[in-house]
Symmetry: C2
Amino acid sequence: MSGQITIGRLAKATDTKAVTIRYYESAGLISPVNRTQGGYRLYTDREKDRLLFIKRARQLGLSLEDVKSLLGLADDENAPCEQVDSIIHEQLERVRSRVRDLLKLEQELGRLERGCKAETIGECKIIESLSR
Amino acid sequence: MSGQITIGRLAKATDTKAVTIRYYESAGLISPVNRTQGGYRLYTDREKDRLLFIKRARQLGLSLEDVKSLLGLADDENAPCEQVDSIIHEQLERVRSRVRDLLKLEQELGRLERGCKAETIGECKIIESLSR
DNA sequence: CATGAAGGTTCTAGCCACTATAAGGTCAAG
DNA sequence: CTTGACCTTATAGTGGCTAGAACCTTCATG
């Protein structure tokens, strides 16, 4: 029961930045909240929960678009969770494919690194590989 | 000895897009070339080689900034190749660290995927995890 | 030599998810 | 009432392109 807090406190409480919270509002992930007479945004636990949800989803590497979908889905208790599953599944596939690509890259970079025993650019195997 | 070619032909020859080549020029990776009377850029093998160098470096995941440095270094035969090595080494480290992160993500996403046997959002373990 | 298609030119805006900066207004404590 | 921490909006920038508009050039045809 922390009552109403300003954006800075919410930022601290959720380890986000105030600008990011405002950005989420402008992007439609968090709806506009009540303001003080002076125009300061006032947040409640509701927004804190929502922001933490967003944070956790972002930590899964999901796009804001996907996070937005999840937030929408989360609000309808009786809807089937197929779409949730497929968002997660597709993300998993993206991650797996990215890992495969990066492992190939790691191999290649490793080969280059080990291959170069030169002192000067003229003899450098790395520059040589890149040049053809 | 292909002589002078227009941007579209260079693009085809290097599997790049013309806009990308112009972008590289504006970014300082390729220097401005001679033009026809009508203003068409005319490229030679020199630029073709340079572009292929850029492509290969980009395939290693290097930033245009790093590619630019490599191009600069490549031009000085007698310079030590330390800096080349360190660009590659740092990229390798970035890739390794990214792989580690993505593998953790894969674990987490896999757990979520396997954990959800629910039919509706109300019982969905994924939404539950994200909600706290 | 005229025409038309294919391909070139510059410029501007958009993508994503922020980050940075400026110029100003509000709030609470002392 | 002043101070200083915090808030406000607006604008521009990041990287590495991509998309589109409006216009101009080139070159193979008829």
